[in-house]
């Protein structure tokens, strides 16, 4: 009996026969996440339906030194949930209970497999919603959002997952269940909750999540403005920010992205636009109306040749449809594409967009730009045809050059998709060895054996072995009963 066979037998006994998959055809279903060009078939898939079962699986992994990878809905775009060939894939989608909704506390408690949009749906009747809204919110899970610190179009004003999670129960890589944070803010002690959110499954598995509920705004106003060029749209964005307005969202699409969206969903954006901006304002009615007038004027002053204002929810949905479909839509105009995710300071937008255009031309590939203009989070879509020899390589080159631009301008190699397997190699371009080593001190505290999602985030794992001078066991003062009472 191999190690995995023994583990499978143990897990079948502990969590049930139907919750353990080892058949190769069944395993193949889980070979990739949303970044489908990385594929690894896991040795075993576990489908726990309770927190106890998650802990049992992790404990079994810890005791046998087996790597494990947690996976939610599998929508991630950095290969963060890519399985380990010799490891266990723990799928959390069976843990989908909404434990409680407490509008009077502005909190909800949910299990990790609950879908993002579902939290908003259950809070809505009380006048609240869950603010983080990744484009995949109809299918992505809260547990996955916690792992990736997911953002969304509206994080310009409302922040990311990390700003909306106040408590977690996690199973640490040694199989212990630990609570971090809680329903109240400012839990004393190290903010391990803050370290855990966005750690991409390398510190354990979230099994229960306490989220903030946000009051639904009184008014939402959405504007679509068409410009001749991305320069004009970028200037309008800067003018809006400079005026002291913080919109809920400012999104930009360039001509190629618009073309793709039109061909896919017929969103009816103004013809001949070199760029469109979607600006959404929300809040108290009087505030929104005053700011909306200002935003409209700033768009026109910066060259908008047409502006449209959504009169109702249906028109708002139409405006957003083009934007939200953009990634999938480029499939209509190109057989293959790479979605990049990088961040630049907002003020560098015009310079970086020009340079992206030049690099694309130099290498003979097209780049469609769709991005969160308000916070400088670019999502260039590098289009190529894999059947043409050399194109894939050139597309990779352009995609990497875009990340270079982000780093050169003091930005980040990922704004919301995460590092995962895809960008681990780029981490040393943004962080020194000492910076990465320091992050891995936290990893060593949670997971000294490195079994939680190994190979992700960090290009070189840190050995967590003994260091000279490291104290073993309790501190003498603590052992003497002195430290605890301080």
């Amino acid at each position: 009996m191999t190690g995995i066979d023994a583990l499978a037998a143990r897990l079948r006994a502990e969590i049930g026969v139907r919750r353990v998959l080892t058949d190769r055809q069944e395993l193949r279903t889980y070979e990739c996440d949303g970044l489908a060009h990385y594929k690894v078939i896991p040795a075993l898939v576990a489908l726990p339906s309770t927190v106890e079962q998650v802990a049992a699986v992790v404990r079994a992994c810890a005791e046998t030194g087996t790597p494990f990878v947690a996976r939610g809905s599998g929508t991630g775009l950095s290969g963060g949930a890519l399985p380990h060939a010799d490891g266990v894939l723990i799928v959390t989608s069976q843990l989908r209970e909404i434990v409680e909704v407490r509008p009077e506390d502005e909190r909800a408690v949910v299990q990790p497999g609950v879908i993002n949009l579902q939290v908003t749906k259950v809070a809505g009747p009380h006048g609240y919603y869950y603010a983080p809204d990744p484009s995949s919110q109809q299918i992505c899970s809260i547990g996955g959002n916690v792992a990736e610190n997911s953002g969304g179009a509206h994080c310009l004003k409302y922040g990311f997952t990390t700003n909306h999670v106040t408590g977690l129960e996690v199973v640490t890589p040694d199989g212990e269940r630990v609570r971090l944070g809680g329903p109240a803010p400012d839990t004393p002690g190290y903010d391990l909750l803050g370290a855990f959110v966005g750690s991409e499954g390398t510190l354990g598995v979230a099994t229960e999540v306490t989220v903030k509920l946000t009051r639904l705004p009184e008014t939402v106003r959405t504007l679509l403005a068409a410009f001749a060029s991305t320069d004009q749209a970028g200037a309008a964005t800067s003018a809006i920010i400079a005026a002291g307005v913080v919109p809920a969202a400012i999104e930009m699409m360039d001509a190629l992205a618009i073309e793709a969206a039109e061909s896919a969903v017929k969103c009816g954006y103004p013809a001949g636009a070199g760029a469109v901006l979607i600006v959404e304002l929300d809040g108290p009615a009087t505030e929104v109306e005053a700011q909306f007038t200002e935003v409209n004027a700033l768009c026109e002053a910066n060259g908008a040749f047409e502006t449209r204002i959504a009169a109702d929810d249906a028109e708002r949905a139409l405006i957003w449809r083009g934007r939200k479909s953009a990634f999938a839509a480029v499939g209509r105009i190109s057989p293959d594409y790479i979605v990049q995710d990088g961040v630049i300071p907002r003020t560098a937008l015009p310079a970086v967009l020009h340079r992206i255009g030049e690099v694309a031309t130099e290498h003979g590939v097209r780049v469609a730009n769709v991005f969160h203009a308000g916070d400088g989070n670019l999502h260039p879509l590098v289009l190529f045809d894999d059947s043409v020899p050399g194109q894939a390589g050139r597309a990779e080159t352009v995609s990497a050059a875009i990340l270079d631009l982000c780093i050169e301008h003091g930005g980040s190699i990922t704004g919301e998709h995460g590092v995962g397997i895809d960008k681990a190699k780029h981490m040393p371009r943004m962080f020194s060895d000492d910076d990465l080593d320091t992050m891995q001190l936290v990893r060593c505290a949670f997971d000294p054996d490195g079994i939680a999602n190994p190979g992700k985030i960090f290009p070189t794992p840190r050995l967590c072995g003994e260091r000279p001078g490291r104290r073993q066991g309790a501190h003498p003062a603590q052992a003497a009963g002195v430290a605890e009472i301080f």
Binding site: V178, G182, P185, T187, P345, D435, L441, V442
Partner: protein
């Protein structure tokens, strides 16, 4: 490597931390000098000092060789207005960052507080309701680790998920993981207009503001024994919007609109030498928390909108006597009458919605020295009064009051942390109280500071 004596000076009389005097003081001028200092100071126990406004928060250090003063690490390195960010050295006064041209770091801090100290203590004020706290506003950080390694996390852009978010780990770590030398903050535009609404109203009325469409920037409560409780609301935005919302709030609370904040706004409710406690809980439990604290004789202020309160007791009497200025209710009369006007939960024998294990109103209003009702009411928390302190009545009272408040905070889903207490009382208290995840926290500390030299004993669980 520079020698320690070139980088430090002998400590003076004022160089103490909670009564523990240091041997040496150093004030590095930049990150490189700080790293050289810390490398030279291997083996020494270290406490970091910024403006000193919160240096008395937490237990005294177990040992103290060296104070690292950050005030020479001062200045705004960069203010990228178009990107709404600023890069500042850790010793920069927060007051400089509150009034950047057209923009602000929207994080309240007392006069003299530094950026690094505010982050290290995770301190916040009324506007946290709208803008969040240091953990929400900090987007990048430079830290010198206890072994002298200079390390960065985060960056200069607001949206960034590359690597672990160590800024959050250092925020509120009270200098136990290293020395913060530089911070990058997200900024907000200065609002075009702002107004306060003040009302005499019980804290339960805060729920109406939260449920309304007022987008308040702050929602503060002020309550004290024998006084009518107050609420104050800050609204910010466009002039027309502020006028309209302030008027609506004033109508709802039967209050008045004011240009000025009330004089208690963002002022700690404890005097020098008093006892200061931070109380957190679920929003719906704020009224019960306020009632319990006022019933125990505390002045209570804080964010009814965020569920973060501060309770202050005057300095205990040095000797037993009339308990009019000491911890605990001055007499059952005013305490119980104020509790009645503060919250229905305290006037009801069932203690309303405060859940299981509630302290009865009788116990809350029991005066100092009558130990049995109080201790039986707080039986979920073990006594914290240590041996040898029973002779100082004020000390015993402090222990009991904290037990009571801690039990109330736990019922409310939060925590009670004693921020500061006078010498003699401090030593007898479990200032941090029980903390979930402590074993993991110890492992983090062991990784960053294996010899436990940075702020030893000052943090949770004796870390």
């Amino acid at each position: 490597m520079a020698a320690l004596d070139e980088l430090t000076t002998p400590a003076g009389d004022g160089d103490t931390v909670c009564g523990v005097r240091a041997r040496l003081v150093a004030a590095p001028a930049d990150t490189a000098e700080a790293a050289a200092l810390i490398r030279a100071a291997q083996g020494l126990s270290v406490v970091i000092r910024g403006g000193g406004t919160k240096l008395d928060w937490g237990p005294p250090p177990r040992e103290l060789d060296l104070i690292i003063d950050t005030r020479r690490l001062s200045g705004v390195v960069e203010h990228a207005a178009g990107d709404l960010i600023t890069v500042v050295k850790a010793g920069t006064p927060m007051s400089e960052l509150h009034g950047l041209p057209g923009q602000q770091l929207a994080l309240d801090a007392p006069a003299g507080a530094t950026a690094g100290g505010t982050v290290a203590a995770n301190a916040s004020g009324p506007r946290r309701l709208r803008y969040g706290t240091a953990r929400d506003l900090l987007i990048g950080i430079t830290v010198v680790r206890p072994d002298g390694t200079v390390t960065k996390a985060g960056g200069k852009v607001v949206k960034n998920v590359a690597g672990y978010d160590l800024g959050k780990l250092y925020t509120g770590a009270f200098g136990t993981l290293g020395l913060i030398t530089e911070c990058v903050f997200r900024l907000h535009p200065a609002p075009a207009a702002a107004a306060f609404v003040r009302a005499v109203a019980p804290p339960g009325q805060a729920a109406k503001i939260l449920a309304g469409q007022f987008a308040a920037s702050a929602l503060e409560v002020n309550a004290a024994p024998g006084a009518e409780p107050e609420l104050a609301v800050l609204v910010e935005g466009t002039p027309a919007g502020v006028r309209e919302r302030a008027a609506a709030i004033a109508a709802l609370l039967d209050g008045e609109v004011s240009e000025q904040a009330p004089d208690w706004w963002d002022v700690s409710p404890w005097p020098d030498g008093g006892v200061g406690i931070k109380l957190t809980g679920r929003l719906s439990q704020v009224p019960a928390l306020v009632a319990t604290a006022v019933g125990a004789g505390a002045t209570v202020r804080g964010s009814a909108g965020a569920g973060v309160l501060y309770a202050g007791f005057p300095a205990p009497n040095p000797s037993p006597g009339p308990a009019t200025t000491g911890i605990g209710p001055s007499s059952p009369g005013p305490a119980s009458s104020s509790a009645t006007s503060t919250s229905a939960s305290d006037s009801s024998p069932t203690a309303g919605s405060t859940g299981t294990g509630t302290s009865s109103p009788a116990a809350v209003s029991t005066g100092a020295g009558r130990s049995s009702p109080v201790s039986s009411s707080a039986s979920t928390v073990s006594p914290v009064v240590g041996p040898g302190t029973g002779t100082a009545e004020g000390t015993v009272e402090a222990g009991r009051a904290i037990e009571l408040l801690r039990a109330a905070a736990v019922r409310a889903g939060g925590h009670a942390v004693v921020l500061t207490a006078p010498a003699g009382v401090r030593e007898t208290l479990d200032m941090w109280g029980p903390v979930p995840g402590l074993a993991l926290m110890r492992r983090v500390k062991d990784q960053f500071d294996p010899d436990h030299r940075f702020a030893p004993g000052r943090f949770v669980g004796g870390i």
